[in-house]
């Protein structure tokens, strides 16, 4: 297998007035292409901080993070933004769709930013919405969609530019159990189709769906287990 992400001795401190908070205290992690990995642990253990670093929306205080062989911590704002656009897909707990745009337009947004032609954007956005079973909801605005449907639109948006890495932060956190299961199975399907998926979650059923589970506590990885199935 090819290594997609390599984190080496990553530390992340958040300076506060009196003393710094050490969110990550030397995390090293390798993620291979095609993996489905869940990061679990109690609140404040550093899961989301690690996900932000893996997604290049934050930079480590020390240590290095390489994604597809590029040290993202050394990239300037313009380069790292472009890197995120083309290589990383994000799914957030609160969906964060733009309420003023339709489902299709929300999915088109990253493609428009990447310079994809209007015709190609339209074609791919409809394909992606169909993939997440929302082919009949392309013209609906977020307010006209349920929570699960909004999260599926957010997943379609994350896949728009064919990212090599899909990151999800508590993707079932705002959903009821039934809808959460639909999202879990969608992630499994995505991974089966070749997408590398990393999820941060408290949801045990979502974690169980992953083939590899990384347990964190107090800013360090305490267990890294790979399921045999």
């Amino acid at each position: 297998m090819t290594v997609l992400v390599q984190a080496r001795d990553v530390r992340r401190d958040y300076p506060l007035e009196r003393e710094a908070v050490h969110a990550l205290r030397g995390v090293s992690l390798e993620i291979e292409k095609g993996e489905y990995l869940a990061i679990v642990g109690p609140s404040g253990c550093g899961k989301s901080s690690l996900l932000n670093l893996l997604g290049a929306i934050d930079a480590p205080t020390s240590g290095t993070i390489e994604i597809e062989g590029r040290n993202v911590g050394t990239l300037g704002d313009r380069e790292v933004t472009d890197f995120r656009l083309r290589h990383i897909g994000f799914v957030f707990q609160r969906f964060y769709l733009l309420p003023i745009l339709t489902a299709r337009e929300n999915v088109e947004l990253p493609m428009a930013e990447a310079g994809v032609s209007a015709a190609d954007r339209r074609k791919r956005s409809i394909e992606l919405l169909t993939y997440v079973d929302l082919g009949d909801r392309v013209k609906h605005r977020p307010a006209q969609l349920s929570g699960g449907e909004q999260q599926r639109v957010a997943i379609a948006r994350a896949l728009a530019n064919r990212p090599s890495l899909l990151l999800a932060d508590e993707p079932t956190g705002e959903l009821d159990a039934k809808t959460g299961k639909e999202i879990i199975s969608l992630f499994a399907r995505l991974n089966a189709d070749g997408t590398t998926v990393v999820v941060v979650t408290h949801d045990e059923s979502l974690a169980r769906a992953a083939r590899r589970v990384v347990h964190m506590r107090d800013g360090v990885i305490v267990q890294d287990e790979v399921s045999s199935g």
């Binding site: 989301s48 932000n52 933004t81 472009d82 995120r84 994000f90 733009l98 309420p99 947004l109 948006r157």
Partner: protein, 395 residues
């Protein structure tokens, strides 16, 4: 896509956007009116002075046309001297006086211009024929309305009145030969034009061969300095006022107007700027989560700034365009009120529409809109992604 996003963002809070556009429109209307006021009266006065092609006015030393009762003596000789210059195309001598139209025991006082009908530049004939006959006059609409006279009627007109003896002097029967629009007179002012020689005779020895001013038209405007120089040498007791000189004097007198309009125009700009900045800032603050997520999924900082600046610009441009219409309507209304200002020619426009003024107002407000959007846009685009996402999640 950025324009679509910007417009969609404005549509999200329609009521707020409409109110903001109305506010910008009012600021734009005021700005346009102030720009029109600062240049309009001056330009309108200049156009009026040049409307009949006379570039030079000759007045008694130290006066402006009809400012005082002073007059120029030996008018015939001066006229002949002026007409002898080959650079001069036309000379129009004008005498101003008050005359009384007698009606039984009462009389109506009116302003009279003694003119040479063949060279006059004070009125435009609207009906009938010009006062070429020594016993005729042309009158304006206000005069005809006040006296009830019509073209063809004969009026008894006197040039003098002794209030102690209550007798009139210089009485003459004059036939109303035509109706005219007088160019330089105030709104509602009663006026007649009488052949110069007739009016001089009526006013008696005191005004014999005297005029209030000469208007001079040159064959070639480029000779104006040369002719002025000659006039000042040849006619030392007369003031020579070119259109440029008159405009300089108008500028002195209108200085307060211009300062006032500059201050009010600047206030309008500041109000428009603050309005757009406030609205865009509030709008951005409400969308911090969305903006940070856009940045996280790869939308560049420059594009976020562009989108937010576009919102401010769209508000300003829409407001400015609506404000232009509103400004023109209010300018017309205010012009109607101000044109009744006593002593000013009715033909003067305080608010003269000039396309340049409209473009200036729209341009200034658009620039304000761009500037107003820059700060909140840059602030939003520079938010730290990870910590803002965490704060949004906690919120």
């Amino acid at each position: 896509m950025r324009l679509v996003l910007a417009l969609a963002s404005l549509r999200r809070n329609r009521a707020r956007t409409i109110l903001a556009v109305c506010g910008v429109a009012i600021a734009a209307a005021m700005l346009l009116d102030m720009v029109m006021l600062s240049t309009g009266m001056r330009e309108s006065f200049r156009q009026l002075l040049l409307s009949r092609g006379f570039q030079i006015r000759l007045t008694p030393r130290g006066t402006l046309p009809f400012d005082t009762e002073a007059s120029i003596a030996d008018a015939s000789a001066v006229t002949a001297k002026l007409r002898a210059r080959h650079e001069i195309d036309l000379v129009s001598p004008v005498l101003g006086a008050s005359v009384h139209v007698l009606r039984g025991d009462s009389s109506i006082t009116t302003f009279a211009l003694g003119v040479d009908p063949t060279s006059q530049g004070d009125y435009q004939l609207a009906a009938g024929r010009d006062a070429t006959d020594p016993g005729s006059l042309v009158a304006n609409e206000d005069f005809l309305r006040a006296t009830g006279a019509r073209i063809g009627d004969t009026l008894r007109v006197a040039a003098g009145f002794d209030p102690q003896l209550r007798t009139h002097s210089g009485e003459r029967a004059l036939v109303v030969s035509g109706r005219a629009k007088f160019l330089y007179l105030a709104s509602g002012q009663l006026a007649v034009a009488i052949p110069l020689h007739t009016l001089q005779q009526m006013t008696g020895a005191a005004r014999e061969d005297r005029v209030s001013l000469f208007m001079v038209r040159l064959r070639n405007a480029s000779t104006i300095d040369e002719v002025k120089h000659w006039m000042r040498t040849a006619l030392p007791t007369i003031d020579v006022i070119s259109t440029a000189d008159a405009m300089a004097r108008v500028d002195e007198r209108l200085g307060y107007f211009r300062q006032l309009s500059a201050i009010l125009g600047a206030v309008s700009l500041v109000v428009g700027f603050l309005l757009v900045t406030t609205l865009v800032t509030v709008s951005v603050n409400e969308r911090v989560g969305e903006i940070v997520v856009m940045r996280a999924i790869g939308v560049s900082r420059a594009h976020v700034v562009q989108q937010i600046v576009l919102e401010g610009t769209a508000l300003s441009v829409t407001g400015a365009v609506l404000g232009t219409g509103l400004g023109l309507i209010t300018a017309r209304y205010l012009n109607t009120i101000l044109s009744r200002f006593p002593g000013l020619p009715a033909a003067i426009d305080f608010f003269l529409f000039q396309p340049r003024a409209a473009w200036t107002a729209i341009g200034l407000l658009t620039a304000c809109g761009v500037l107003a959007g820059l700060y909140p846009a840059w602030r939003a685009a520079s938010l730290p992604l990870a910590s803002t996402l965490r704060e949004e999640a906690v919120a």
